[in-house]
């Protein structure tokens, strides 16, 4: 098994409680993952483009993106990331409570790398985050 490497996540989530749940799940590991949390689409784009107040932040390894976001909608954030030559290589995992087929289709159409629906059952929710973390940190080979 390849060694687990610490990952830098950007969590884009408007709901603080959800963000907290995801962060707790991500933190539950020997490896020290970094999780940065922003609460709307505009902030997410500023963060990724290293604009004020995020000039000092590195680009994340994986973006966890909610779709229903204030200011700039998650779909728009995704589209802008994938249109940006600098950003399009960062894997974007859509993490949403929306089960609407249109959302899913639209997200993949905009080149989302993965689409996850938040399960109501917390055990499954927790498992999903664990798997997600494991997948991206162990199995996935990032672009050079």
């Amino acid at each position: 098994m390849p060694p687990t490497k610490p990952l830098h996540f950007l969590l884009v989530e408007d709901d603080d409680d959800h963000a907290n749940l995801v962060q707790m799940a991500l933190a539950e590991n020997r490896v020290a993952n970094t999780v940065d949390h922003v609460t709307d689409g505009a902030d997410a784009l500023s963060y990724l483009r290293q604009e004020s107040p995020y000039e000092s932040r590195d680009r994340p390894d994986v973006i966890l993106l909610d779709l229903k976001l204030p200011k700039v909608d998650g779909h728009e954030v995704l589209a802008q990331i994938k249109e940006d030559e600098q950003l399009r290589t960062i894997p974007v995992v859509v993490l949403t409570s929306s089960e609407a087929e249109t959302d899913r289709a639209k997200a993949y159409f905009s080149h989302a790398n993965s689409y996850l629906t938040k399960p109501l059952d917390f055990d499954r929710f927790h498992q999903m985050i664990q798997d997600l973390k494991y997948y991206w940190s162990v199995w996935n080979q990032p672009p050079a």
Partner: protein, 883 residues
């Protein structure tokens, strides 16, 4: 096109007619055979009869063609197969040289004029049946392009039949007879001619059925192929006719020669016999008289080299010869076998006999004629004449300058004569026997190449070349005919167009060069406005100075739209007539592009529509009255339509909202539930770990999630009540409601350091008070929540009257809302800030409630400049209006 249709009907009848005639022909000839009526079988006593099998073929084919017309596919195929089999089997017999026993299977043939094998049909007849039978099979099969195949097969039969018939008409035997084989009967040839045409018509019918226009398309090919076939057959026929002519000429020449040679030899024999006769009468040797007599004959008959009186012991007694002739004379004739043989024969049989070719000395070849001299029937000696071939045959062959002639006895060629040009066409060699007393010579005669060329007629090659060229020409003519017909149709259309244009000649024509401004104006153009041709300049300024100034603008705009947007240039405009009156003109035009796509020229017409406009004006008076009445009536109708449209619109909107709701609910209602369940789980762990801080945090979060859910449900309920739960409309003082809210929220306002300023004497509206209160509550609590600056602020509630509408506003001094969210914020569950704990339903309720009252909601805001929410209500909602 009725003419065309009737033509098609006639064409459709041809196969029926051909089938019927073919069957009838076959039946009649069969009856002729059975009842021994020669006229039916032969037509003429010298003609070849139509064989019984041929008649059978015609009957079978005719029935098949009729069946094909009746679409009896299966039966048609059987008839076709039988017909074709008759043809093929006969051909096999000819080619394979075998007798399959089919020739006289049905009928013992008692007429065999010009028949090579009794009962066997001619090879060309057999070929025709093979083709036509196959055509029937194809016509009944679902083969692709079957109409083409049937047509071509029919064509073959037509061509063969036509050629044979032609042969009968012009007396060209080779056209209906191949080699020495049975000839095609005259009625057979006529039958095939008709039958082939029937087949082609069938091909056309089949093509129609297959919805193909092949007849038209292939017509030139059909015509061409027919002509080529006819040409080839005719050429062959004429060629063989010519061959026969050469053969006959050569043979006749040989006969004549044989006769001449025989006569020449006989004349010499006669001379000798005469001498022998005299010798016998004058018994005893009268040397002088004999010599005299022999010398006379020697002089008369140029063939003699010498004449001798020979004793019974074969020894020569006396000799009379030409100069040098005697010296070559061998006195003992018995010493040489050929001489001896002839003498013995003459002596024993007492007849004149001739020797086989012998050497006469000095390199001359010739023969000896031995005539026995008999006294009392007892031979007493011979009169022997030596005849040289060159002197005997020379004078005869001299005139045969165009033939090579060979004379032989058995295998021994003894005389050869070459034609003057030295060549001989041995292909045309003719042989004949020449009987010379006890010997038989073989005479071979062949014409020289020159002779053959002279006999050969230029006609066959002319027909071949001419026919081929003619076929191609005919093909092209038919093709051009087709094209020309199509072209003439479009020409007719063009003519009609021209005529139409002539009729329109009262219109003025203008033609403008867009680069130079030069403009041709036709005399009619100028006459329309009362000017002579020379009175107006051909320039673009002319029309611009004559058109009404307000219409000039219209025209320029129309030109712009025409060139830029491609709209048609077609406008009614007014011009000033020379006499000052107004001329209405319909101005139409088309701008033309050069190869670069740039406009360089524009042409158009002027049609005088003044009378039309006058009539229009006269009518408009009447119209106005009518219109008024109509307007009144339609107004009602219009209103009910509007109502209907509104209902549809409402339905659509409620549908859309329902969809939006379902979508949003799946997300927004789930979100607090996930939180709740998530922290519930955490809570369990934290209790186990005795983590008090965590427990408190989790419970707080769960409480917030549950509260949020309750709020959501409350708001959604409120939203759903709008339009559903309706209170009786009553006068509502909006200002009063705002003040009530301010009083109720005094504590909160003090905490937030916000004051609410409400204008005095705001309009009173008639509305659902509960809803209007709700609207104000939502707007004001939003303003308190989001519209405060760092040091509190002020909220301004006021009103305006615009166009009779009542407009109310709630203005705060907060950070404002960016323009892109102005519409979005009214959407269900749309929140501007993620951290805010609102439900995202409040503004949706505002919009729904106001729209239900027939009003509108919008927001005016700039970042950092505060936000103003506007409500407008229609004037019929105003209390004063209603009162």
């Amino acid at each position: 096109m009725p003419r065309h249709r009737s033509f098609e009907r006639y064409l459709g009848l041809i196969p029926l007619l051909a089938g019927g005639l073919s069957a009838a022909l076959g039946a009649v000839v069969m009856i002729g055979w059975l009842t021994h009526q020669q006229a039916l079988v032969q037509v003429h006593r010298s003609f070849v009869p139509m064989q019984f099998n041929t008649a059978l073929g015609f009957l079978c084919f005719g029935v098949g063609l009729l069946l094909a017309c009746g679409h009896r596919r299966h039966a048609t195929r059987i008839c076709g197969a039988v017909t074709s089999a008759i043809g093929w089997l006969t051909l096999v017999q000819y080619v394979g040289g075998v007798d399959l026993g089919i020739d006289q299977l049905f009928m013992e043939h008692y007429i065999t004029v010009q028949t090579s094998h009794p009962g066997r049909m001619a090879p060309n007849t057999a070929l025709c049946f093979a083709l036509t039978g196959a055509a029937l099979i194809v016509a009944a099969a679902p083969a692709p392009k079957r109409s083409l195949i049937v047509g071509l097969l029919g064509l073959g039969a037509t061509a063969l039949g036509a050629t044979a018939f032609f042969g009968y008409v012009v007396g060209l035997e080779t056209a209906y007879g191949w080699g020495r084989l049975t000839r095609m009967a005259v009625h057979t040839s006529a039958g095939f001619l008709g039958l082939g045409i029937g087949l082609q018509a069938l091909a056309w019918r089949v093509g129609q059925a297959d919805h193909q226009r092949q007849l038209k398309r292939w017509l030139p090919v059909h015509v061409g192929v027919t002509c080529v076939i006819i040409t080839l057959v005719l050429w062959q026929a004429m060629l063989s006719q010519e061959q026969r002519h050469i053969e006959q000429t050569t043979a006749r020449e040989a006969e004549l020669l044989a006769h001449d040679i025989q006569e020449a030899v006989e004349s010499h024999v006669a001379s000798l016999e005469w001498v022998a006769q005299n010798r016998a009468h004058h018994d005893g040797p009268f040397a002088e008289r004999w010599v005299q007599e022999a010398a006379t004959h020697l002089r008369d008959r140029l063939g003699f080299g010498a004449i001798a009186w020979v004793g019974p012991d074969y020894r020569t007694r006396w000799t009379v010869g030409r100069a040098g002739g005697e010296r070559a004379w061998n006195p003992n004739l018995a010493s040489e076998p050929r001489r001896r043989e002839a003498l013995e024969q003459a002596l024993n049989q007492r007849i004149t006999s001739v020797t086989r070719p012998i050497d006469l000395g000095a390199g001359h070849r010739g023969l000896m004629i031995d005539v026995p001299v008999l006294v009392n029937d007892e031979p007493v000696g011979f009169i022997v004449g030596a005849v040289r071939f060159d002197t005997l045959l020379g004078p005869i062959l001299e005139k045969e300058a165009a033939y090579s002639v060979t004379l032989a006895e058995g295998d021994e060629v003894f005389h050869v004569h070459e034609p003057t040009d030295g060549s001989s066409a041995t292909d045309w060699l003719e042989e004949t026997d020449v009987a010379i007393r006890n010997a038989t010579w073989r005479l071979r005669v062949a014409p020289s190449e020159d002779k053959v060329a002279a006999i050969s007629h230029f006609l066959p090659s002319t027909i071949l070349i001419g026919g081929m060229v003619g076929s191609i020409l005919l093909m092209m003519v038919v093709r051009f005919g087709q094209v020309a017909r199509r072209a003439s149709q479009s020409l007719l259309e063009n003519e009609a167009r021209l005529r139409l244009m002539e009729e329109l000649a009262t219109d003025g024509v203008w033609d403008r060069d867009l680069s130079t401004g030069e403009e041709y104006l036709s005399p009619q153009w100028k006459a329309m406005f009362g000017y002579e041709d020379h009175e107006l300049a051909n320039h673009a300024d002319t029309w611009q100075s004559m058109i009404f100034p307000e219409d000039l603008e219209l025209a320029l705009r129309a030109y712009k739209e025409h060139t830029e947007e491609g709209k048609p240039f077609d406008i009614p405009v007014r011009y000033r007539h020379k006499d000052g009156t107004t001329v209405w003109v319909l101005c139409r035009g088309q701008a033309l592009k050069d190869e670069n796509g740039a406009f360089y020229r524009m042409v158009g017409t002027h049609t005088n529509i003044t009378p039309l406009k006058r009539a229009e004006e006269a009518l408009s008076g009447v119209n106005t009255r009518l219109e008024q009445e109509a307007t009144e009536r339609t107004a009602d109708l219009h209103q009910s339509r509007l109502d209907l449209a509104q209902s549809i619109l409402n339905l659509k909107r409620s549908n859309e909202e329902l969809e939006q709701f379902a979508y949003a609910a799946s997300h927004d209602l789930k979100t607090p539930l996930i939180t709740f369940l998530g922290y519930l789980k955490q809570l369990g762990k934290q209790v186990e770990a005795d983590n008090k801080e965590g427990v408190t945090d989790s419970i707080a979060r769960m409480q917030r999630a549950a509260d949020h859910m309750r709020e959501l449900i409350d708001d959604l309920l409120e939203l759903s009540r709008i339009g559903r739960v309706v209170s009786e409309p009553e006068p509502v003082d909006v200002g009063e409601l705002a003040r009530e809210f301010a009083d109720d929220s005094a504590v909160l306002l003090a905490e937030s350091r916000i004051d609410i300023r409400v204008e005095d004497s705001m309009p009173v509206i008639v509305a659902d008070k509960v809803r209007i209160r709700q609207v104000l509550q939502n707007l004001l609590s939003n303003a308190i929540k989001y519209g405060r600056g760092d040091n509190g602020g002020s909220i301004h509630v006021g009103s305006q009257r615009v166009d009779g509408e009542a407009r109310f506003f709630v203005r705060d001094e907060g950070p404002g809302i960016p323009a892109e969210y102005h519409d979005k914020i009214f959407g269900l569950f749309q929140k501007l800030e993620g951290s805010s704990k609102g439900t995202g339903v409040g503004l949706t309720i505002v919009r729904r409630a106001i729209e239900w009252h027939g009003g509108r909601v919008w927001v005016e805001s700039e970042s950092g400049r505060g936000t103003t929410f506007w409500l407008s209500l229609p004037k019929d909602r105003l209390a004063s209006h209603a009162a």
